[in-house]
Amino acid sequence: MDLLSAHGLSKRFGGIVALDDASFSARAGEVHALLGENGAGKSTFIQILGGVLRPDAGTITLGGSDYRPVDPDAARARGIVTVFQELSSIPDLTVEGNIWFRREPRTVLRTVAKREIRRRTEALLDRYGFPALHPAQDLRRLSLAERQLVEIAKALAQEPRILVLDEATSSLAARETDWLLQLTRRLAEEGRLVVFISHRMGEVRAVADRLTIFRGGRTVAAHDAAAVSDEQIVTEMIGRRLERLYPERVSSATDRIAVGARDFSSGPRLPGVTFTLHEGEVLGVGGLQGHGQRELFQGLFGVARTQGEMTLWGTPAAIASPRDALVGREGIALVPEDRRGQGLMLSKTVRENLTLSVIRRMSSHGVLSRPREAALVKEMVDFLRIKVSTPEQQADTLSGGNQQKVIFGKMLLTEARVLLLYDPTRGVDVGTKSEIFQMMRDLAARGYAILFYSSDLQELVNVADRVMVLREGRVAATLAGDQVSEDAILRAAMFDEAA
């Protein structure tokens, strides 16, 4: 008997069909993966489940009775809690403040019972073995990964019957991901249903009992996880055969040093790294989350204050702001960590986003040339195959993969030949991922130097020429050639080799 089943679900947004007669069914006590490319309808489906959207047509039954939530509270009342990809935490509150937000235990005077909150928070974090969270921490001081953990804690605090995890692992590092995967198994064993959305096949393989695949708003298949191959899944997801996710690794690195850093430091998290990035090279940056990767990228790009030596194409460079970094061919460009907060003006058009960093180049004496802008925009939209109806489309109407392409386009237009890619495939579908990896290879072959951080170890292993592993803000190891493996990266990240 299915705990949750949906039939004939349809949802349109204006002229766009998001869900088209989709169906879904899952049992209590299983981890059920929901797969599909960006834009396949997964988000719409879980927003309907979570009471955020109402379907135009179709029915859902939950535990044998009709289920039509009018809002997220109604969904929670029926035991469905969703951890959405876009974090909804409140930066001004503490960890515990967020976890119990709107459901704070009260004293007889109706004031918030602080001690009770602390007790419950500690019990909760303890019960599920949450890594590295303290109840009283201010949220604004936490990393994206830690905030994600808070969201999960908040969901678990509501004792859900059905927990929906939308890309919950996308901002987590390897160790936290492992923990979350184990947690989902445990929740399933407790008899709950976990609906698990991830673009990472390895994770799906590790936890899912069954899986349902959406494409173009329709349900194309549902399988027992054990009875289906990766290849078949990917084929069903993208509607064609994907030749390969990772491009062939032909190293194009030369002896010429693009970026040389010596005792390069930035704040307490990055006490000092020394490394070289060569022309034509993809240098991976690995390590556990929070070991200085962000500080390294932000420091190189001039967002954070730095000390130590840095050279760019052989000459000393002092980069105190992104303006110093974005200086054309001799400069540095960044694909930032937070796509929506740092990368895109969501309420502006694709055109305005693409050209923001090169406004000077398309104007003479401060006066814009619209034809020149249109040419640059068209060039990038075509080159990156960004799916837009017109460049005047607003950025927040694009899927995650297309948004990321716009950011790539913006970066490439600057013509900088040193690229800093901070987790560029986070929340991006498998088809776009493979395009991004291929592009990285092509750019490297043309002499670009690429520094590449990914929270997905597999990507580092398969895409980077060398991997520099950071531990406590220092280079713990630099792996090359046959040395590069998930195992070796993890070992370098966690243990002191000498010990």
Binding site: R12, G39, S43, P322, I359, R360, S399
Partner: protein
Amino acid sequence: MNAFVARHRLIVLAYLGMLVLLLVTSYFSPGFLSEANLRSSVVLAAFVGIVALGQTFVIIGGGIDLSVPWVLNCAAILMAILCGGQDLPLLWVGPLVLAAGALVGLINGIGVAIFGVPAIIMTLAANVILQGLIVIYTGGLPTPRAPEMIRFLSVGRLGPIPVIGILWFVLAIAASFLLSKTAFGRYLYAVGSSATVAEFSGVPTARTTILTYVLSGFTAALAGMLLTGYSGQAYLGMGDPYLFTSVAAVAIGGASILGGSGHYVGTIAGALVLTILAGLLPALGLSTGALMVVYGVVILVTVAIGSEAFASLLRLVLPMRAGRIGSRQP
């Protein structure tokens, strides 16, 4: 054409609202559409429009300038005293007063963009400080009459057209050019929609923000001089109405009060709406008090109409069009 309407929906609405208001007013007050009356409306709207020019830039950039009343007032009094009723000194006093207005803007801008003082506090403080300074300076005594040359600029005409109308038109062209055709304009919208994204994109965010305040100080000072010409002399408190009207004109003109959107073309409609409204209410037999109440309500309603919350309310009321307004494609 359709794309233009969709992109500038709120500006189009502002002009439609202005036309409706014009028709209603002429119904209740048949003389309203007379040439003389239209001319005086344009003159009154020009003062609002000129103060609101700088305010438009500041608000698009995500800030607000609350110092305009006393920048305006100081400029007016400074000019009147320094000229002493003569035309000739205006040649150096005019530029000096405009520069002083820009300087106040520069200080505001540096406070906001470099020292991180919230715009409300920074400009409110500047406003109070200027008020104090000018009271000390004048000792509360009345000022000499405005020079004739300034009177010509604010109440004179060339044929049927008021001189200040021409001046306003030229300023409007310049402002629209800055917003639509220059790198500075592009930077300004970027800073207003997300300062972080702008910073990460290499936009000179501090410089852009500071420039908006400089512009606002400049236009407030200009309006102060012109207004002195209009009323014949400068007096304490003459700038007070312009805080609310300058912000209201920008908001009615379709700019988001949170920054990142809007255009001076809209602000012009906003200034005209406020002026026509000020003519309509007396025609309906309403008092100055009532005028203020209606002013307040109008700005509340227009800002609410432009807001995201109103859009989602519409979605509830009009389920047929669900999701059209600002919703996210999955």
